[in-house]
Symmetry: C2
Amino acid sequence: MKETLKEYNELVDEELKKYLKVQDENSRIVYEAMQYSIFAGGKRLRPVLLMATHELFNDKHSEALPFAAAIEMIHTYSLIHDDLPAMDNDDYRRGKLTNHKVFGEGIAILAGDGLLNKAYELLLTEIVEAQDPTLPAKAAKTIGDAAGVKGMIGGQVADIISENQEISAKDLDYIHAHKTGALIEAAMVSGAIISGAQPKDIANIRRVGKNLGLAFQIKDDILDIIGDEKQLGKQIGSDEAKEKSTYPKLYGLDACKKMIQELTEESNEILDYYLPKSDFLKKLNNYLMDREN
Amino acid sequence: MKETLKEYNELVDEELKKYLKVQDENSRIVYEAMQYSIFAGGKRLRPVLLMATHELFNDKHSEALPFAAAIEMIHTYSLIHDDLPAMDNDDYRRGKLTNHKVFGEGIAILAGDGLLNKAYELLLTEIVEAQDPTLPAKAAKTIGDAAGVKGMIGGQVADIISENQEISAKDLDYIHAHKTGALIEAAMVSGAIISGAQPKDIANIRRVGKNLGLAFQIKDDILDIIGDEKQLGKQIGSDEAKEKSTYPKLYGLDACKKMIQELTEESNEILDYYLPKSDFLKKLNNYLMDREN
């Protein structure tokens, strides 16, 4: 699995480098700020899921790569803005100083804006240059809807206003499904769309994406309680300190581990239809749930 | 002229309302924050330019409207982020409290992000639903490129890092052409593209858009020195207080007035080719240069 993961990561990193080259000395600093956070050691989960899903139905890597780069840019912009003092106020992410700690708040805000906009420049270029823009346009719209106020941003808003408050299980579901889940699901669904997959297969992939997104977030919550700070690259207990509602707080650790197991099993059952091509995705699915960071 | 301007504004406002309805109680506050700044009394310059340019070549209003709404969303997001304490730190805009003064910094950042993303959701919907997506895709890409680090964001970055510094005429040109000019030019060019205008006409429109953007910015600089605070809805002298470089500071007031006149005349000469349909654009062009706010 590690070999394949490394291959995907290298492809995605090359693609990201291509789009983030300094194009202008007058605004060099914002390119550097964008590069800093993009290459700060992220797991590349969303682009890898997009590429691996695409590969279930289609061998042409190259057509999925710009979409993989775009979704990583959107994810990274959301982290930069999320870390700002007015939001989560985090000084470190993955053991490195956060963007605003290095570049200042003003440039960090603009670097986030720049990455979000760059993602769409890239998607629109793919659409304009495609011989048949139908699938690229649909895939881009899937990503755009997931990133917006109906998706990720909506989740961030609900997360902010629920801080220091007791919230219901329903509200917590909303936050997780939107803040993290929407973009993970969109990564897999858009990968399937670009590949030319059939509606039935896209529906299957959507189910896997939903499960994986939720299980991933529950695992994150668990690691913030019982994780190893060195492996995580950040302090644990930050949810508790901010009085954030989490799945373990609401359901207890054992129930959460069981939820992850059930979600993972259901995903693997669906992925079994696509063996042997889904071998990597199954391993990735299992690995994500057993991870220590 | 005022009748036509009012008609365009009403069309654009209706369109904007459609896209900014509260869709979700969990994130109601961000919709309210987005609506607040969108309906805070802006001039609607960019959408009106887009609609009026489109109308030079094509009578179907409706196909240009979503693009007009999208460009106003992008403009408004940039104002919300620009007003933040980490950027220009402005408490008032057009006589009303800025977004973060009403909703707090966290929600203001997300409302800006939400508007930027919503603009692209809307553009991508137009592309996906078009019978022939060629022109909508090209128009959307024109807007996207102008909004990004190669355009507006690049200008904002150069503006921030040049504060409290003496800068050259070349650097000031860069800031103005990118921070304000790029999106104004893109409004007119994308309007022409959607209309199906010929390359020669698009080149003419690009020239007018460039002139208009620059003249508009020089006029803004002048009003910040000799404008009437009541009519402007904001304190004058803010550029001076922030030690910002401006055209009047660099060239003097008289030279600036002359520049505006020359730019406006050149634009009007080009627009003369398109009479009588360009009558409104010519009047708007003249009005913008004589405006008091």
